[in-house]
Symmetry: C4
Subunit: 195 residues, 4 copies
């Protein structure tokens, strides 16, 4: 199995996911600016999901970058990740349409959590295939970010049914964790991990 085709297929699926999410933002029938107001939550949930899919695409590239051979298990671990990502448009649409209500927010958190777990599984599969001197293992260390993210999503799922703003804060925090000054933090924490 060549890496090129796995990347091309994943890129295709991720490109479609990121683009069809916008279809949940239905064109309003009236022609006044006020018609856009009820769409604001849908728009915000779209922005959030766009950033998340962007993060996944970015990280996915790094994962595969260190990878030379693609095994059958990797392929299915990758499809498993794409499966949960493919539920983003549904979860995003439901959350946006219902103005971040309890149940849709919890579902959104659950989908994010499953995607994060699928990502960790894919990472684990690649590391195992690379063996002892895995370059990926060396560069991600214990991958505290991935673990903290899963915990944040779990927190979000539980909190959503009661205080949905906690869930929203967890979503934004986890996204920022992946977006903000990567190198320095990661380097330092990488050193901590190694000691």
């Amino acid at each position: 199995m060549s890496k090129g085709r796995l990347e091309a297929f994943s890129d295709g699926v991720i490109a479609i996911i990121i683009t069809i999410m916008v279809l949940e933002m239905k064109v309003p029938h009236g022609d006044r600016l006020e018609e856009l107001v009820p769409l604001i939550p849908t728009f915000l949930s779209y922005v959030l999901s766009f950033v998340y899919v962007g993060i996944y695409w970015n990280n996915h590239h790094h994962l595969l970058h260190t990878c030379k051979v693609v095994t059958g298990i990797m392929l299915w671990a990758n499809l498993h990740l794409l499966f949960w990502l493919s539920l983003f448009p549904f979860a995003t649409g439901w959350m946006g349409e219902n103005h971040f209500a309890a149940a849709p927010t919890a579902l959104y958190g659950a989908v994010l959590m499953m995607a994060a777990i699928a990502y960790a599984l894919l990472e684990h599969t690649i590391i195992r295939a690379q063996g002892q001197d895995s370059i990926l293992k060396q560069s991600v260390g214990r991958d505290w970010k991935a673990k903290v993210s899963v915990l944040l999503y779990l927190l979000a799922v539980i909190a959503a049914l009661r205080w949905s703003w906690i869930a929203d804060a967890a979503f934004v925090t986890a996204a920022l964790l992946w977006l903000i000054p990567d190198r320095r933090i990661e380097k330092r924490l990488g050193q901590l991990n190694e000691t």
Copy 2:
């Protein structure tokens, strides 16, 4: 005709098919968790079809891997396969929305069967083009899996109108056939085939 562009185009079509299937899972209007209950059959049919499309993508890659030159007939055999795969979203949506009722289940089986036949035709076309020492021929043998799958789908189509659970069992069995411990079984059966 370069193989690269055939692969890229097929990847594109398969990536879109796998992703637009999720659009059949319409966002519910209410905001309570219970709203998701009627979507469960749609979700299950989506999971099944996602796995099937994943299997086809995987196998499609193996088919083309051994292939160096792409002839005009191969190209149309490939488009023929993509045609039947493109009906998956329709068949999946109809089956899911109607909770695995008789006729939609039969149609789903028929589409799976046609895709399996189209796949066998593509395989045959490539083997013929490769001639006597076809590497593909050597690695798939008589391809009992492909044949058993077609029979299972045929069984499903017939059974669906009476006992749709038999059809569902056939779908899952055929999927597992392609998913589970490939190497050992295939090697042994490959040896049987050669004797």
Copy 3:
């Protein structure tokens, strides 16, 4: 401008066009086989358009195969072709939903005709860029097929409003022209062209 990216982009657009056409075949609400009957014309129009898009994809590859440098004008000639191809889902859906009625059939013919003209323009642009010894020019000759097709579509547009079966026959004839035993006919006609 590298040819690779032009091909990749065109493949992407064509892959999406061929796949979203199937979305015009709406999942019926009931669960009986009879529900599929009113979809038959939509299905037939889908099959026809699938074959046409397949032909365009195939020919598009041959066009670019001989091409080394991509100029700015080629790029826009290519986007012009993609524009008319992007109207296929709309024209197909309208024709299918209205059971091949007069006006939708005429529109379908008009879109086919515009796509054929756009294709001829792209071919012309590439030939001009290649200059005197254009390989493309040598292999397509005067491209009688392209010219006959445009005439067939024109005939279809005119006939559609009166006898829509003539239009349908013209669509099928033009498709067969591109599908059936290419080499021998083309070789012979190529010789005729050269004399």
Copy 4:
């Protein structure tokens, strides 16, 4: 980060955007030619957006052409551009459906303006990464086109609420600016820029 995958992903997203815009042109229910009349504004807005997305795809290629290494910031600047482009189908659909009414036209202008700003940011990011002798910097100069476009879109947003034809004229002017005789104008202006 390899440039290839960034290009492939961007191509995928842009190919999907350009194609799903056509889905806003809903198939009419009747079968007479007159049914197409109310779709004319939607069609015109589709043509305009198709040209714009084509221009962006074209320019995007030129931007990345000079680029060898892809940094993390470039990647996010690129996703930021894709984000605004992904709103084209929504803005196009709203403007078309409401026959170029004031508010939808203003929104369309705002989305175009944000995309133009995102494009300028991406250009700036690449130039900064390339350092002093940036080839991109040398070829775009002060990029007067990009600046004039942003001003035209800003004008369109303001004018739209009063005289929406001014906005429409601004959209067409900015598109022509990018389409028409590039080389000579650019060369001359390039010389002016350098003096």
